[in-house]
Amino acid sequence: MLSVVAGRDERDATTADVAVPDYASHLTGDARGARIGVPRALFGEGLDAGVRASVEGAIGVFRDLGAEVVDVELPHAKYAIAVYYIIATAEASSNLARYDGVRYGFRAEEAPELRSMYRRTREEGFGAEVKRRIMLGTYVLSSGYYDAYYLKAQQVRALIKRDFAGALDSCDAILTPTSPTTAFRLGEKTDDPLAMYLNDIYTVTANLAGVPAVSVPCGLSGEGLPVALQLVARHWDEATMLRLADAYERAAPFDARPRVCATD
């Protein structure tokens, strides 16, 4: 599927005119000599012990496959969650403006005039998390706050990009957990959105840097919930990333059954 969606799309100005390789031909199962970078500084606070154990095990698998494991530094990655939730909500607040009840979608009934139609439509039509993001995003773009939030976030994002480019100079792929914890219960963190956002630490960091990343299942935690590792590669180097992910999957096939239960 990647080979179909990858490459230039004439209707999307953000796509690049870069040749698309035959990804499948790179799936050789060979990880010998590959350099796997591990940002140990991101394996600290907030990382679930079971997740840590699974991911350490996976690092061992790569060693066994003949890969070299090296330490890498991503000094600005610790700001990634803050940066991401400023930029993403700013964009979301603007992207969602089109759901105003004028042309399509939900429209509140019986609003007496235009402004109240807008207000009621958006009040009734959006859920709590969406509203939270719209408000956050509106705030960070507001006159007087733009420089302190949105602009600053974009500057830090540039530093994060530079961190990744630097780290990927000395390795072929960066390995992290996909998520610091296993799945939480439905509704468990609805009242604590910050804890929920923190679960995105590893994934959104790669998104901010604009580099490719893939998530591969790598075991079950102590409670029997699935754990995954993430491999991040250089710009346009999906082929190496997929080759390493495939090599890992072949060496450590994930056939465990997670403990799935609706109530407990």
Binding site: E10, R11, D12, A13, T14, A90, E91, S93, S94, L96, A97, R98, D100, V102, R103, Y104, L114, Y118, T138, L141, S142, S143, Y146, Y150
Partner: protein, 491 residues
């Protein structure tokens, strides 16, 4: 006239529609007057998931406009979202440019004049205007409140115009009178039309302007500015500024303060009224458009665009003076539009007498065109035909007076000058032998007058000329008749 002791500060914003076939971020047609909402697609309707793709033609025309107004192109500019809610704005934001615009740092020289009571220009003088920026953006759609069913309950939205490319042109606050502002807008209109960047027709709404007006006592710092909108013609703008100047001065003189606000011109009432105050002003929350990469101009782009542009009016005026020996006012008039300047140049070449061609065009031709409501490019008399007419006069075939009648006939029938001269038998008799024959006859037939003339009554020359012209049915070349008569009469 501005009241003694006061100074006026005016800055202008012009929105000009760029003459592209399709919209700035999608392939929909920009045609005016089509069935409402027929020129729309997922992109300009703001449907979820549809993305903007920049129309390069809009960039080229924007560059023409910028270069024609003396701006510098920025090699890299950034599109930004201007966020606000309005039913004619499908995405909830307008894609515009903000802190990194397409072009900046412009300065142009235009002609301006004070006006007398009835609005006639007194004396044209050059004036420099600094242009802060010209940036590219998309237009919004149009809300319709009239002419459709149940407009008491519903408003309608036509999105045909949504996504039409615009150039927004912002000046520094360099104008001191409403007429300077008026002359500037006309200058910009002509410049944009000249280079084919925009039709710049205010009637069709493809050129709109807004004015920022403030007053101050001479020598003081800037006063509070008021933004004027709904200026649907250059004349309305001039009147609105004039009204606003008086209103602000009166307000301050009576102890009041001007408040920062947007006011609309009401032409029926001849006054401006408040649309919104500063407190109600939008916070547009500009930020870089994430769906579009920065606009980076290729190496040599500005030079390429410049090379494709026609010679600019100022350069052409200078050349007309230099090459054809025209005066400044004449050259200015002939370069007031590109079609007219082209017309003159072709006629000048065909006539081999540029001065005469200039005179004919500025008087007779323009009068005929104006009467017919046509532009020079639609003239039923081709410039080469005008040139041929001038040559008939210069060659002594017809008199200047006859030529005027012939030209009227050319405009009426579309026939060539020589065809009309032939048909009406107008050709002058310039054959010396033929004229000498007629003159001899006339002299011989009027011995009494000849005697009186020879006795010193030289005023009788006119009588003889009249007789000769009559005998030749008006066709004799007057110059030759004069010369021949003088010789004969002296004996």
């Amino acid at each position: 006239m501005i009241k003694e002791g006061w100074e006026v500060v005016i800055g202008l914003e012009i929105h000009a529609q760029l003459s592209t076939e399709s919209k700035i971020f999608c392939g929909c047609s920009t045609r005016f007057g089509d069935e409402p909402n027929s020129n729309t697609c997922p992109v300009c309707l703001g449907l979820p998931g549809a993305l903007p793709v920049l129309n390069w033609r809009a960039v080229e025309l924007g560059a023409r406009a910028a270069l024609a107004l003396g701006l510098e192109l920025n090699g890299r500019s950034v599109f930004a979202r201007k966020n606000y809610f309005y039913p004619d704005l499908p995405k909830g934001y307008q894609i515009s440019q903000y802190d990194q615009p397409f072009s900046e740092r412009g300065e142009l020289e235009m002609m301006t004049s004070v006006r007398d009571e009835s609005g006639h220009a007194r004396e044209w003088k050059p004036m420099k205007v600094r242009i802060l920026r010209l940036h590219l953006e998309e237009d919004a759609g149009k809300n319709v409140h009239e002419g459709l069913p149940e407009t008491d309950r519903f408003s309608y939205v036509d999105l045909n115009r949504a996504g039409t490319p615009l150039a927004e042109i912002v000046t520094e606050p360099d104008f001191r009178t409403s007429w300077e502002a008026y002359d500037y807008v006309n200058h910009v209109r002509r410049a944009l039309q000249w280079v084919g960047a925009s039709e710049a027709d205010m009637e069709k709404g493809n050129l709109r302007c807004e004015a920022n007006v403030s007053v101050r006592r001479t020598g003081e710092g800037f006063g509070t500015k008021v933004e004027l909108k709904n200026l649907n013609s250059v004349r309305f703008m001039q009147k609105a500024i004039e009204f606003e100047i008086e209103r602000q001065i009166e307000l301050i003189e009576s102890g009041g303060r001007v408040s920062q606000e947007t006011r609309l011109w009401d032409d029926h009432l001849g006054e401006t009224r408040v649309m919104r105050s500063k407190e109600e002003a939008h916070d547009y929350r500009y930020f870089p458009e994430p769906d579009l990469p920065p606009l980076v101009l290729p190496e040599g782009f500005a030079e390429r665009v410049r090379a494709e542009m026609p010679e600019l009016p100022e350069a052409r005026r200078a050349r007309f003076m230099d090459e054809y020996g025209l005066s400044y006012p004449d050259a200015s008039q002939l370069t007031s539009g590109r079609a007219l300047a082209d017309y003159f140049e072709r006629a000048a070449k065909a006539s081999e007498n540029a001065r005469a061609a200039s005179n004919w065009i500025r008087s007779e031709v323009l009068r005929e065109l104006e009467a017919a409501g046509r532009g020079a490019e639609e003239s039923p008399v081709a410039p080469e035909e005008l040139g041929a007419l001038v040559r008939l006069v210069d060659g002594g075939k017809i008199s200047g007076k006859q030529a005027k009648d012939v030209l009227v006939e050319m405009f009426r029938t579309g026939k060539t000058a020589s065809a009309i001269v032939e048909e009406q038998g107008l050709a002058q008799v310039s054959d010396a032998g033929e004229i000498e024959r007629i003159v001899s006859e006339v002299v011989a037939a009027n011995p009494k007058q000849l005697e009186q003339y020879r006795a010193g009554k030289e005023s009788l020359l006119g009588f003889f000329v009249g007789q000769v012209m009559k005998a030749s049915q008006g066709k004799a070349n007057p110059k030759l008749v004069n010369e021949t008569l003088l010789k004969k009469l002296k004996g």
